[in-house]
């Protein structure tokens, strides 16, 4: 997958190659892999290089894959100034730009969630401690989904007006029992989930959690 290095910095190329390798290892078809590359590249490959990267990847994976493959396995939304649907108390009034959505089906998908979180930070110039907090928070929330409530999704968005990065992590699991006690730090599960949630809340500027028998939605935002 050294083809990525022609278009990306070595770190980004390696990260993308790894996320593609993970998907391939998990039985992803060439078309799924290409769609993954397309979806990820939207956020960190300059527009003038993006088509060349995707074309090069297509040559590598199999030229027979159609250029406009339907988005099936991977949930993806293009970055085109669409307002975020009001999925939580944290959604802003129509100033958000949708970012990528990462489907969480297994623990290997956490790498992609962290990769996208890191790219979002780069996009808005968030660095150092602030970026570290954001990526760690995404990792913690995505892990809760992977561990306890698979499948789920991590939806990124960007509020350029309010200067915030937002993430909505949702699943259709059986909910988090004792959520209030967990967030008060009074309760910790034997598997350590409480620590991850309480810790995440300390890392972010805004935190909202809704849970019930049909699923959990946690929305976070960090200012930049």
């Amino acid at each position: 997958m050294s083809v990525f290095e022609r278009f990306l910095s070595p770190i980004n190329a390696r990260a993308l190659a790894r996320s593609v390798t993970h998907r391939a290892g998990a039985g992803g078809s060439p078309a799924t892999l290409l769609r993954h590359i397309e979806a990820t590249s939207v956020f960190f490959v300059p527009i003038d290089k993006r088509e060349a990267l995707i074309e090069a990847a297509r040559q590598l994976l199999g030229p027979e894959i159609p250029a406009t493959a339907p988005v099936g396995g991977l949930e993806r939304i293009s970055i085109s100034g669409v307002a975020v649907p009001n999925t939580s108390a944290l959604s802003a009034a129509g100033t958000d730009v949708l970012g990528p959505t990462v489907a969480i089906r297994m623990e290997a998908d956490l790498n992609e969630a962290r990769l996208v979180a890191r790219q979002m930070c780069q996009q808005v110039g968030l660095q150092g401690f602030a970026a570290q907090k954001f990526v760690t928070a995404v990792s913690e929330l995505a892990r809760n989904v992977a561990k306890y409530a698979c499948p789920g999704r991590v939806a990124f968005s960007h509020d350029a007006v309010g200067r915030r990065l937002r993430v909505v992590v949702s699943d259709r699991g059986t909910g988090i029992p004792n959520l209030d006690a967990v967030l008060d730090g009074k309760y910790r599960s034997k598997t350590g989930m409480g620590l991850g949630l309480v810790g995440t809340r300390k890392l972010v500027d805004e935190f909202d959690a809704q849970t019930g028998a049909t699923g959990t939605t946690i929305a976070i935002a960090v200012k930049y």
Partner: protein, 144 residues
Amino acid sequence: MDHANRIPIIRLWDLLLVPVQGDVDDSQAEGLVSDVLARVQRDGCAGLLIDLSGVWTLDSHLCSVMVRLSRAAALMGAQTIVSGMRPEIAMTIQTMGISLGGIQTVALLEDALEALGVRSDRAKGRDDALITELILGEQEEDEA
């Protein structure tokens, strides 16, 4: 897990050096615990140095894996020292209230080696020269 995704484990005398780099996924972390413990047993190691200077993100899971690894290694007679934690990572885990469960942490890999009794002869030579100079400096000048 294929070979390319394994975290390297490097033997240094009776110590094991584990440089953890980049984005560590869960299967790598699990593989690390079993690989390191197997090596501790096979090589009879007295110390385990985990260097985190190249790690991108340290979340609660990776911390708990390191704590588990260090406790198991301690039962097998090997002391664990973590080095090279970057400031933003240290601040993040401190903000989250994560504890490293008593694992000794030091700033540099050199400090970790020194804590386990390994010291560079070159550094020692420099220190000896400094002491000699402090004690005998004037005398040497007189001779010159």
